[in-house]
């Protein structure tokens, strides 16, 4: 059983009071450049997932509370929530640095640029 903490309204509750929204930080390629989206990019957007074993970044919704979406960093092995953060934000810097595998690759440029989303 996960006990989830809403980043927006502070409500705390069982996972049944919340809704899991899948992997975080997936950008739709057609939003940036609709005319030049390759099939591979579209595949990445629709189907490729980081599937991290360990620290993972994902979206949750305070389904039975304030109804707002937020981000969470969670460990997929220990189930521990490391942090929650706003839906338009990047994770805390320490967690971006702690990320491994595909997440580490994903956050590399963003760490270099600073922490704007």
């Amino acid at each position: 059983m996960l006990i989830v903490h809403c980043h927006v309204c502070g409500a705390e509750g069982d996972e049944t009071d919340f809704h899991y929204g899948g992997q975080a930080h997936i950008a739709r390629p057609a939003t940036r450049d609709p005319a030049n989206v390759s099939d591979a990019e579209q595949r990445d957007y629709l189907f490729m997932r980081h599937n991290a074993k360990g620290l993972h970044f994902e979206r949750w919704r305070c389904d039975r509370g304030c109804g707002k979406w937020f981000h969470a960093a969670r460990d997929t092995v220990t189930m521990e929530f490391k942090a929650t953060y706003g839906i338009s934000e990047l994770p805390p810097r320490a967690l971006m640095e702690a990320a491994t595998g595909e997440w580490a690759v994903f956050f590399k440029d963003r760490l270099a640029k600073g922490s704007e989303a």
């Binding site: 927006v8 309204c9 502070g10 409500a11 509750g13 069982d14 049944t16 009071d17 389904d63 039975r64 509370g65 304030c66 109804g67 707002k68």
Partner: protein
């Protein structure tokens, strides 16, 4: 054709006896769904002018002035309660005050059914169908929050305490289900102590 006639969802359902709590349907309440940005001072001022009360901005709280109440639903959404007969008048006043401001006010009086629970067992009974720690002191008079109750969406408003008076709002189509659930589960004392102090095992 006969004239359209308002009927409440639980009209005709007998009020059961022998339950551990008193339950009844609140039939004369009007409800307005109000949306706007809490950090928009013009919006907050306009609402204050129309309702004579400051909208609560702290999560899961409520505010009241006379027969008008405002329940916090989200960071940008409130449920305004008033006598059903005054809904239209209040809605007109709200819309006039909010003209030109990014906001929304809609009469949703028929959207939800309100079941009032009274008695010391009210919290324990609701706890059977919810994952919230309703026995915690955080749930004081005035608390309003949405929750998952008996697998359906509901809104809980603790009207007063000692003894507890709790209003349970469910969507109208779930009224029968919620009513039956309360009757089925309210027959026996709900000795639920979830999250409460655990007995220390003898060593």
């Amino acid at each position: 054709m006969s004239d359209a006639q308002f009927e409440t969802a639980l009209q005709g359902r007998e009020t059961p006896t022998g339950l551990t709590v008193d339950i009844r349907e609140m039939t004369t309440r009007g409800m307005i769904d109000l949306r706007g940005l809490a950090d928009d001072t013009a919006f907050m001022a306009a609402v204050k002018q129309a309702l004579n009360l400051d909208l609560p901005t702290a999560p899961r709280t409520s505010a009241a002035w006379g027969e008008i109440q405002a329940l916090w639903l989200s960071t940008d959404q409130w449920l305004i309660l008033c006598p059903r007969t005054k809904t239209e008048e209040l809605l007109t006043a709200l819309r006039q005050a909010l003209a030109g401001i990014h906001s929304l006010a809609v009469d949703v009086s028929d959207m939800r059914t309100i079941i009032r629970l009274e008695g010391d067992q009210a919290r324990s009974l609701l706890l059977k169908g919810s994952s919230l720690d309703l026995l915690s002191a955080d749930y004081e008079a005035g608390t309003a929050r949405r929750l998952r109750f008996a697998e359906i969406a509901a809104l809980l408003h603790i009207v007063s305490t000692k003894p507890d008076v709790i209003d349970l709002y469910v969507f109208r189509s779930y009224a029968d289900y919620a009513w039956d659930w309360l009757i089925a589960n309210g027959r026996t004392v709900a000795d639920v102590r979830q999250f409460g102090k655990q007995a220390v095992p003898a060593t």
